[in-house]
Amino acid sequence: MLFLKCPLQYTDHFKPKRSCGPDDIPLIVLKDSLQVMAYYIKKLFNKLALGDKIPSTWKYAKIKPIFKKGDPKLVENYRPISNLNSISKLFERCVLNRLPSDAKTDGVNQHGFKTGHSTVTAGLDIQSHLAIMSDRGEKSIIYSVDLSAAFDVIRPAMFYKKMVNKMDIPTLNCLNDFLTNRKAQVEVDGHSSVFFSFKAGCPQGSTLGPKIFNMYCSDLSSALKHGYVVSYADDTYVIVSDKDEKNLLKKANSTIKDHVGWLKKNGMICNIAKTEAMYIGEKTDCDIKLDVDGVTIVPSDTMKVLGIQFDNKLSWEHQVVSCTKKCLKLLHGLKHLRKFLNLKQMKQVTTSFLLSVLMYGSEIWYHRHLSFHLKQRIRSAHYRALRMIYGKNLGRHYSRKSLS
C-alpha cells in the first residue's frame, strides 16, 4: 500500500512557477515553506492514503484554455489546461511515486508518459514489427486512430472496474476519489465563470492524469484479437499482418470493428476524419478498403507516425525529403542571423535548430541500408549548415568513396 515518505524529496520536480490554482498559493511559496511544514503535511497525506477522503477543495481547478491551432473562434481548438491547488499537486506527486509501474497496470504497448520510453521507441517498435513481418513474407496494414478529448472521457466507475484486480484497494480508492466529484471554473482574460462539476474526465495539467490515462487504456491490446498495438499517449497505431491479402483484409476490418467497439465501451470518441491507414506489401488486384464505423478508408502509400514519414516500402524517401526541406528553410532563415552572432553563438543556434529536425528519429530511419542518394541528401544538408556557419564554399562534389 501507499505510504508516503517525506514530501520534501518530491519538491525538486516542481518548477518554481508563480501561477496558482483556486487556493491562490503559488508552487514557489509551497516549495520554500516546505522545510517547516513537511512534518504536518506528511501526517496529513498519510491520513488521506489510509482511507480518508481527499478534501473537496483539493478537487477544484481553474481551467485556462490554451490555443492549439486553427480557427481561434472555435472552442475545439483550445486545450483545457487545469491549474490545480499546489498542495494537491504535491499529494499527487507522492501518490504517483508509490504507484506500480509495470506492464500489468500501464500496458506493454504504451510508450507515452513512461520512463525509458519516447516517440522514438514507439516508432522503433512499429518499424521493427513491420520489418519482421516483411521478412516473413507477410503483408501488413497499419492504421492509426485519433481520439478526440481523450483525457476528458475517463469514467471513474469504469476505471475502478478495470483496475480492481490489478492493484490494492486502498490505493485504488484513493485514485477513484481523486477522479470523482471534481469541480472547475474557466478563466479567460481575468474573467472567471462559476464552478461547475463534471462526471467524467481527468484534469489536464495534473501529475496523476497521464498515469491514470495509461492505466485506463492498458487493456486495449487484449481487446484486439489480431492487432499488434503501439500507443503513444492518445495516438494509437495498430498493425495487422497476414500472408494472404483477403485474409488480411478480413482481419483488419474485424480488428477495426473490435477497436471501435472498445472505444465506444469506454466512452471514447474516435475522430474518423483523422484516421489514416497504410498497406505494406506487394500490390495485387484485390481492392483494399477499410471500414471504420461506416466510413470507408483507402490505405495510402505514406503515413505520418509520430512525426516520422513511413512509406509502404520502408525506403524512408519521404522522411528524408521532408526533413531536408525543413532544414533548408531553417537555414535560409538563419542566414540573416549571421551578422548579429559570433561564431560560437552561430554554431550553438544552428546545432540546436537544425540537428533536432535533421536527425529526429534517426534510430528508426537512418541505417546502413538507406539508399546512397538519400544519405547524400542528408549529408548535403549537414554540410550546407557548416558552410553557412563558416562562410566558405569550396564547391567540391561528393564521391562514393567519401561516403562509405
Binding site: 522503433l124 518499424q127 521493427s128 520489418a131 534517426s362 549529408r379 567540391r396 564521391s399
Partner: protein, 109 residues
C-alpha cells in the same frame, strides 16, 4: 576528393556516426533497464555472449530480406562488434555514455 574541410571543422559527429551512436545508446539502455519491454525481448531473442569476453553482448543478423534488416535486432550485429567496452557489469550511466561516444565519434579522444 571528399569534403575533408567540412569534416575537419565539424568537430562533431557526421550523420552516419550520430545514427550509429543513437542506435547503440538505445540498445545499451534497453538491455540494461529492460525498457521498452518488447524491443528488449526482440533483441534478447537473437543475442549471445562469449565466456572469454564477459560483459559484451553480440547479436545475430537473422534477416532474409533487405527490409527485414531494418528491424532493430538485425541492425545491431555490426554495432555490438564495434562496442569494445564492457557495459553489462557495473558500468554507470555516464561511463556507458562516454564509452559509446569514444567508440563511435572520432572527435572524442
Amino acid at each position: 576528393m571528399g569534403r575533408t574541410w567540412e569534416d575537419i571543422i565539424a568537430e562533431r559527429a557526421s550523420p552516419d556516426e550520430w545514427a550509429d551512436f543513437a542506435v547503440s545508446k538505445m540498445f545499451v539502455h534497453t538491455m540494461l533497464n529492460c525498457k521498452p519491454e518488447r524491443i528488449h525481448q526482440n533483441i534478447l531473442s537473437q543475442s549471445y555472449s562469449e565466456n572469454r569476453k564477459p560483459g559484451l553482448m553480440f547479436v545475430f543478423d537473422a534477416s532474409q530480406k533487405k527490409i527485414g534488416r531494418q528491424a532493430i535486432q538485425n541492425r545491431l550485429s555490426t554495432l555490438s562488434k564495434k562496442i569494445k567496452m564492457s557495459w553489462t557489469f557495473g558500468a554507470t550511466k555516464d561511463q556507458v555514455r562516454i564509452g559509446l561516444k569514444r567508440s563511435f565519434f572520432k572527435y572524442v579522444k
